[in-house]
Amino acid sequence: MNNSLIIVLWAGLTLLSVLTLIFIYLFIKKTISNRYEMRKKKLLEDYHKSDSVLERYLRTGHMERRMVLGSAVEYEAMQEYFVKRIQVVNEEEHQRIQLFFQQHLVDHYRKRLSSRRYNQRISSLLYIERFNLRELLPDLENLLSKKIGDVEKYAVLRVMAGLQSERIIEIMMDPTQNLPDYVCRQLLYPLNMNLMERFIAGFDQCPPSLQDNLLDILRIRNERSLAFLQMLELLVNSEREELRIRAIKALASFGYASKQGLQRIEESLDHWDAKSWQEKLMLTKLMGSIKSGPFLEKLQELISDRSFMIRSEAAASILLYKDGVQILRKIEASHEDRFAQDIAKEMLKRGIS
């Protein structure tokens, strides 16, 4: 019994000392960080004044010693100030902010990028992206070659894309990367058209998911280059259904097709029944945004389709034609199919109100 008493006593004492240690640690940490936050808050308030060092620098471009020889907290406050400020600056001020970071913080971020601590690396990434520090691209690539987790890898890639790094093309074309769609889109979205055209040129070598996302992004960005249009018109007949759907969607939002393109789409209507409902739906939408006689005929046929979604999309597409309202009125009044009448009625109500 005595023995176990001693064991319990020791366990208790150990726990008690750990408890005290945690308490002291938290107490000190909170005190220090509160003081740090206070100092930072004070600095930020100062920077916000219209004649502060930073504001003067933005106006004149003259970097005062006070800005350059800062302490850690000052740098952090400046960084925080500029992160917000950079969103409301003119071209000149933007350059000045960037210049300041290039001259005085690049080394700081470089050190942080090679830090052993995850949070230091990640948080510096966010600033590198925001302040467009292209000088650090080699360091980013270096980080990428190390053993890092996916979250961090995606963050690095995102920054590289933001900085228009050419390496990103190579990485994205590599099918072993297996990037999530969402990341893929985030990487494509900021790329300039120069880099985008290189993807278009090498489209056949891209992994399927990249192909799909590329079409979506070009559509979302509303790009209207000839190379893109030509590619889309070819893809309407692609073997892969997913790709066809996205190409049709992109064409629909393009709102234009060349003569050959139009012909190709019209021909594809012959195999209507073999298509999935998603593709049918997209085509129905396309036939509203790009207009042609055969399309309008097809739409009037589709308004009595079995599926509600197709009917409704067909009615919406008809409404986009010049005499769409009259056609729908006629369908409402005299179509043999009751569903077609209903949808025409509803669409007229919605379209007019």
Binding site: G12, N119, L179
Partner: protein
């Protein structure tokens, strides 16, 4: 008489042994949970919030249906709906489900958002069991993405099911009318889903819940920069409890994909999976936990690699009960829900077919979370018995209980440490002291109290009320008192 006494001694002896090993096991389990969470959170200290910006500004997040079940909540509902309509997200719809409210909820919402009856709207997505009949479906003339579904009363789970059936997007999130969202809540919970690798599936994702009492709410959102701790002892204890539960328990369970509870207050689910699993169960009190268990079961039975994610960030805030009786009933309900979920899926218990869920999570929830209070209360009786018959080595017992109290405080302190590493909500030193002192007193009043309420629920298990709307009675407008919102122009 003698026989009884002998039985008593024998029982005392064996109970002591069992409890001793039980305690050692519990101590060990909690230590493991703490260390896992600590290790995970340590990595993430001090990353600025900016990481959500980049997502908010992009248009690629998948569309989301937000389901708001409403039952007798005319005032609260309008506020929550309005704040939901203002969230920063690219594509979403808000589906309000009026579960046969007896007050004017329906009329108020219709009037407030200028709603009209819609003809063709319900897209039945094939849930095996139906829901209570839907009376009417409304759309809003003010917000094209707001819908209202009026149905007959069938309980919260039934209301959620109806909402799921009507939703048109691949993901849905359910929100209680009394929950306040963090500004980035949706992006936070969607992040694990959209960043999943091809081939990797996240079918549900949830975050921590914080306690909103004593905070300012601006336009339906809680200003997370200004969190301060209230003085009410019951609330302070609940704050500690929430931090411990979310940061320690769930964080580490999620690490191994064996999380059985995703906070019901705010979690995203993949619609197709939920429908495949059969939707929310209308017979359970804790329909959210039951659903998660069922999803896990489905994952294992389909040999899928799908996962349920959890993030330590607080994504929503809820009002903690300030009255003892409300708290007592809430805990009774939770415990009952826990039991029902475990009982319904008892097949998974210690069944290697269900992997870590069956072998770790189930035993954890059953032996520690569920049986804990019973053993604890039995322990009090045994101590009394032992003292009465002089069976207890008093110095040993005193020392042992002291050590356990220290251990309890150590865990609470550990939770505060995790809080400091991750959320840093309670910045003031005075708040920290208060949390610390209360954590020390927990074993003397709060813990026994909670154990009693949970035991109580066990006795009530026989009498089961179906599909109830377990909600707390709240002071009218506690969460919405500050804002003076001008009437919306018609």
């Amino acid at each position: 008489m003698n026989g009884w006494l002998e039985f008593g001694y024998e029982f005392f002896f064996w109970f002591n042994r069992i409890v001793f090993f039980y305690i050692i096991a519990v101590v060990f389990v909690y230590l493991v949970l703490f260390l896992t969470s600590a290790f995970n959170l340590r990595k993430q200290i001090g990353i600025p919030e900016m990481q959500y910006d980049e997502m908010l500004t992009t248009k690629f997040a998948p569309p989301l249906s937000i389901i708001v079940p409403v039952y007798n909540e005319e005032i609260g509902a309008v506020y929550s709906i309005r704040s939901l309509l203002g969230i920063n997200y690219s594509q979403y719809e808000v589906i309000v489900v009026n579960d046969g409210s007896k007050d004017n909820s329906l009329e108020t919402i219709i009037k407030e958002f200028d709603m009209f009856e819609m003809q063709e709207k319900i897209v039945w997505t094939g849930l095996k069991k139906g829901t209570k009949p839907v009376r009417k479906v409304y759309g809003s003339r003010l917000h094209s993405n707001l819908f209202l579904l009026d149905k007959e009363n069938g309980g919260k789970a039934d209301a959620l099911n109806a909402g799921i059936l009507m939703s048109k997007y691949p993901y849905f999130v359910s929100i209680d009318g009394d929950t306040i969202l963090d500004t980035n809540a949706i992006m936070k919970v969607m992040k694990p889903i959209i960043e999943a690798k091809p081939g990797e599936e996240i079918i549900a994702s949830g975050g921590s819940v914080g306690i909103a009492n004593g905070n300012r709410i601006d336009r339906g959102y809680l200003n997370s920069g200004k969190v301060s701790l209230v003085r009410h002892p019951l609330v302070v204890m609940q704050v500690i409890e929430y931090i411990r539960a979310f940061l320690m328990g769930r964080m580490s369970l999620s690490r191994y994909n064996i999380l059985l509870i995703v906070s019901g207050a705010f979690s995203v689910f993949r619609k197709d999976w939920v429908i495949k699993a059969g939707g929310y169960d209308t017979e359970t009190v804790g329909e959210d936990m039951e659903l998660v268990v069922r999803l896990h079961r489905l994952i294992r039975e389909n040999k899928s690699k799908a996962r349920i994610a959890f993030l330590p960030d607080p994504v929503c805030w809820t009002e903690a009960p300030e009255s003892l009786s409300v708290l007592y009933n809430q805990r009774k309900r939770w415990h009952k829900g826990l039991f029902q979920s475990l009982y319904r899926h008892k097949k998974m218990m210690l069944n290697p077919k269900y992997g870590a869920i069956g072998m770790l999570a189930f035993p954890y929830f059953f032996f520690i979370e569920f049986l804990g209070p019973a053993i604890e209360l039995l322990g009090y009786f045994v101590v009394i018995f032992g003292l009465w018959f002089n069976l207890i080595n008093i110095p040993y017992a005193v020392l042992f209980s002291l050590v356990m109290i220290i251990y309890g405080s150590f865990l609470s302190m550990g939770a505060l440490l995790l809080e400091e590493w991750s959320q840093r909500k309670y910045k003031k030193l005075s708040d920290f002291f208060r949390l610390f002192v209360y954590a020390l007193t927990e074993s003397f009043w709060y813990r026994p109290l909670m154990s009693i309420s949970r035991m109580h629920s066990l006795f009530e298990l026989g009498r089961r009320k179906r599909g109830e709307w377990g909600r707390m009675t709240r002071k009218a407008g506690v969460l919405h008192h500050q804002e003076e919102v001008p009437a919306q122009p018609k």
